[in-house]
Amino acid sequence: MENDRLVIMRVYYKSTYTYKIFQMFRKEFENFVSTLGDIVFYGLEFLKGLKNKPTTFKEIINQSARFGVSSLPITLSIVGMTSIIVAMQVAGEMVKQGGGNYVGMLIAILMVREEGVIMSGFAIISMIGSSLASEIATMKVTEQVDAISVLKVNPVHYLFTPRIIAGTFMMPLVVILASVFGILGGAIASNLVSGLTYKAYFDSVWFGLSIHDLNVCLMKALSFGFVITLISCACGMAAKDGAKGVGTATTKAVVWSFVAIVILDLIFAAAFFY
């Protein structure tokens, strides 16, 4: 009798929204832990493989070309337009208030400390991260990764190494170009909107920037490049279940990379500028 009551209560509980919502959260949490586990596992496997020189210089150059060349137009456009938008909104007001000499400094600090890196990161995630994840995920679901394993080549070392090395070292170059482009865009927009001279703008740029800013910018870029490529490759490698799995892996790579670089950005801000 008591057992029957328990069974009925259990069946009733399982049909409630509370139970369904709880199950949904549980599934999401399991997914979160599993993805985090995949990223850590593949990250360690990648580091373990570095001592064996698992890739060639030629392959790193190929991946670097893909990383730099294909991402540059969109990265420069996004960072350039962001800087123009900021300049359009603040330059006129600052010149009116007598702060025209600080416009260049403001834009430069904004670009080098924050916008250049984070906007480039977002652009790289959309262009390169998604492409890496879907490429590796497709290889996984079409058994190409299994074929690499059967041929006695470690697929993590073979696929990850050139991509992560290229991503880590190309990201600073992309960020430098994007930041320069952003500062130039700010100069043109400030001149057009408020009549601020180029000389006044660039004088304040040099005044505002320090070596510390540039160092932190490069460190951020290196870490963003590493994290984006690692997460994208790991999500691709963890793909399963055919075409749907490729889509899921790509979405996961983009979302996780976005969240990861924002968290990293927060850590850098707290560590170096707080």
Binding site: D146, A147, V150
Partner: protein, 238 residues
Amino acid sequence: MGIEVKHLVKSFDKKVIINDISFKVDDGKILSIVGFSGSGKSTVLKLISGLLEKDSGEIIASGGDIAMVFQYSALFDSMNVFDNISFALQERKDLRGKYTKKELEKVVAEKLELVGLSGIENKFPSELSGGMQKRVSFARAIVTEPKIILYDEPTAGLDPISSTLIEDYIVRLKNETNAASIVVTHQMSTIRRTADSVLMLYNGHAVFEGTPDELCAEKTPYTKQFVEATLEGPMKMN
């Protein structure tokens, strides 16, 4: 010596997929593993090739490489035929740097000739038909002179004539390499043309072991249902 499998067991999420399977394939012989979809045939190949870890049992293989030909070829679509075939020679840790460009070209040309596809080194997989892709994957599999070759449904998705050609090449490769071969298939034609022995699986159990002639002649409920391709019998589709 070939390969010997003893009491192999493999489970996924507490469900037993391979349950105490044993068999032996000698050098220069071909074993066909047959059975319904989901009966564990491909899992056996993945366990032998090391793609999956066994729960228990023994896999005793003669020294040398184990090669595998995948169901849909699994050629690297970003590489041309030359790079696909020479992949192991270029990228494997113990072989990297051992071959000059000229030697690689010679090896690839030899393997392509063996599968009747000379001169297609610069083509990409997308430029080849399904049957040609399959033969390129044969060439890639034998590039390291393996002692054991595993074929996962080699004629899947091919027309009957291409299937016959592929079956001929399976026998030809066996004769050329003297490797022990295991062919997973659903096709009676593949069994008749290639196999020296047959192992039938159902729900992870071995339900028949013998020669292709015995498979056709023996009238156990399992063999009868499989040979006659009927729904009536002990094997139920999920």
